[in-house]
Each structure stands twice: as C-alpha cells, then as structure tokens.
Symmetry: C2
Subunit: 232 residues, 2 copies
C-alpha cells in the first residue's frame, strides 16, 4: 500500500476514520503515530497528503487534504478472460499498471463457466482494483464491462481511435512503436487456449495490429503484463 | 504445455515412455493418438519433433527426434527474493521469459525465513522451471545460485559484462536502450519492501544503472515481468 485510498463518503468534514486493513497497514507497516503524514487519495478523485490526527483502539483518524491529479490511466484492454482464479490475480496488477477500461469478451476458447463467476459482480472485483491503485499510488478506478458476444463488441472496437494491438504468439514481430503519450492504446489479449484464427482476423478488420512478444509462448497472465509493460 | 520436454535419461533407443502429467496433457489437451507428431525437446538439450508410437493404459510412447537449438536464454537476474509463495509463482514465468542465471541475494528487507524455505532445494524448484520451459517451448534450464551475503556477491556482479539495470521506482526514468541482441543483460530486482538506499548505491558502484518503470509503484512480481518484457 503506497497510498491509502478513501471512498468519498468516508470523509466527513475533511476527516476519515478507518479501522480496517488500511488502519492495520498504517499501524503495523508504516508504524503510524499522531502527526505523521501519509500519502492518501480519494477513489476516483484527487490525491494528496493525510495527517494522522488520532489513533484509538485500532481506529485511525486522518485529516485528508487532496488537490493533485495522480498519473492518469492510459490503456484499454479487450480481454478474453482466463479462469476466475487467474483473473482475480491479474486485476490488481492491471489497475496498478494504469488500466482505464476493461472489456471482457467472449472468445471461442473462454471457459463457459466464467460468465457465471462471482468475481464478475462489481462488489467482488472492486476491492481487487482498489488494491492495485493503493499499490501503485494512483486513484482512478478502472471500469469493467462484460460483452459475452464477440461479434457484438466488434463495431465498438472498430470505432476506437489510437494504437490497437492484438497479442499473438505467431504474429509478425512488430517493432516497438514510438511512445506517443496522450495517444489512446488498446490491447487485446486472448484466452488461455489462444484466439482462433477467425477471431484474430476479425480483430485485424477492426483495426488491430498483430503484435508478437518473440519466439517464446507466454502464459496469458505473463503475456498480459509483458505486452502492457512495453508501452509503460 | 507448448513443448513436451524429456529428461535425457528418459529416452532409450530414441523412445521415451511417459505416464505422468505430460502423458495426461498429450491425451486430454492435445487429443494425442498414434502417429501424431508433437513438439518435443530434451531438458538442457535440443528441441525437435516426437511421433506418438503407442498409447496404452495412459502410457504414451514417443519417438524423439531432436536436432534444433531453441531460443537461447538471454538474461541474468539478481533477485532479493519475495515470499516463497510468490517466488514459486514467478519461477515458471522467469523460465518462460528466457532466464539464464538466477542469483538469490540477501537484501536488508528480505524476510529471514526465506533462506530456510523448502523451495530452495533443487528437487523442489526444478519442476517449476521445467513447467516454464514447456510453456514457452524452450529447453535450456536456468541455473539458480543462492548468495545470502549481499556484500559477497558484489565483486562478482561488478565483473559481469553487458547492460546491468537495477529496478528502482524513484530512479531516473531511463530511456529504453536499443535492443542489442547478443549483449549480456543483467537485471536486479529488490525485495517486496524495496532496496535500501545503500544497496542501490552498492549496485550502482558495481555498474548497475537505476531504471524506473514510471510513476506507478509496481508489486515485485509485476515489476519483474514488466522490466524483463521491455527487453524481450
């Protein structure tokens, strides 16, 4: 936790009182005491500094002053989801890396069970995203939308501007495009069994370029981070 | 499993007989049948093709023909290890990304318990490395050496040639060096709590450049993959 984040409604008259995992982190890891200043932020709001006002029975009261904008989220991801267990593990990592919008898409090799997984409920995935923001020190929550129909999402993907890349192990190795900060970036990552050839062609028709990470075939969760990292 | 790997001693007169997880993968995922040709390789040896000769009671007999060299491992890693649970998870990923040599180093914020962890025994970590090789389709096993003394490893690090980078969230953002295939690359990644300033300075004195992945602070396991991926 490199920044303690609060929900807007947790702050009353400029003070947030917490007694959950964040309070334990302040006490046990940061060795917090009254007067100490912490990095803080408001979820989907600004970041800034928070002074510890009081600690009592494990409850920490923090005076929150925010006014700065943290690093903006900078990429969208079209993801054919892996198993729920893997999905949970990558959510904080994606939020930490700067995810803006996540589109979960139904590709041929996505396990059908996934769409009924409890992790798809906002109240269940939100804590994983907040965990990632607190790790990275940012505050803007990514949005997640579910579109089980691959074909139905395509027109929307086609209308998106910017650099659009689909990870494909057997694609032509693309040269690393120059970093063009401000430009929109959209990544598409296939399911654990890979995209079908038809799916890759449909993405290409929607403006995506095949992008290879080299001769090694990486697991979905590794390829995901590797691809995003090349544009950090 | 994108390539089935065999131990050299498993191959007798050009034929390997297996009935473990590899056999189940051949049968259940690859729907193997007699005559089918698979991607195979020999651990620490060559890669090639294997023809299924026979399947009986879950045992698969494969005629192994190897002669090609797969992609060579290309980076060394100096790692202040995270918790054993995280370490186990990153081992296959490191092997898949092309790890050549791993040096486990004792940094100030490494949990002391780590050095007694059972995962440090070759018989325990080897399967995780082989898993990564089978995923990526390569065959050369990384080596792991343990040097608990930070100071004792330094002269060795100093003598290493090539591009040496230490990941540091507050370092100067370095421009991405041009890819210079063939050149040695050594990464240094700190413990979950980060390097101490003294440790970073000692690494700098040994020829490492501070390398920042940007304004977001990434978890060790994310930063590790992100850093390596920028040089893939």
């Amino acid at each position: 936790m490199n920044r303690i984040l609060f929900e807007p409604e947790e702050i009353k008259d400029g003070v947030a009182k917490i007694y959950d995992a964040r309070a334990r982190h302040i006490l046990e890891v940061l060795h917090g005491e009254a007067g100490q200043v912490l990095k803080v932020g408001v979820i989907d709001g600004k970041i800034g500094a928070g002074k510890i006002l009081a600690i009592e029975d494990g409850e920490v009261a923090v005076a929150v002053e925010t006014g700065d904008s943290g690093p903006e989220p900078w990429f969208d991801l079209v993801l054919a989801p892996p198993r729920p267990r893997v999905f949970k593990r990558i959510l904080p990592q994606l939020a930490a890396l700067g995810l803006r919008r996540l589109f979960l898409i139904g590709a041929n090799k996505v396990e059908k069970d996934f769409w009924g997984a409890t992790i798809l409920k906002p109240e269940n995935y939100r804590p994983f995203l907040v965990e990632g923001l607190q790790q990275s020190g940012t505050s803007i929550l990514p949005t997640i939308s579910v579109e089980r129909s691959f074909r139905r999402l395509l027109p929307k993907l086609e209308r998106m501007d910017g650099l659009k890349l689909v990870a494909h192990p057997y694609g032509n190795p693309a040269p690393l495009p120059p970093r063009n900060s401000g430009a929109n970036v959209v990544f598409a990552i296939g399911p654990e069994g890979g995209w079908t050839e038809g799916e890759v062609e449909a993405l290409e028709a929607a403006g995506f370029l095949r992008y290879s990470l080299g001769p090694r075939i990486l697991r979905t969760d590794t390829a995901l981070i590797a691809l995003i990292a090349r544009f950090l």
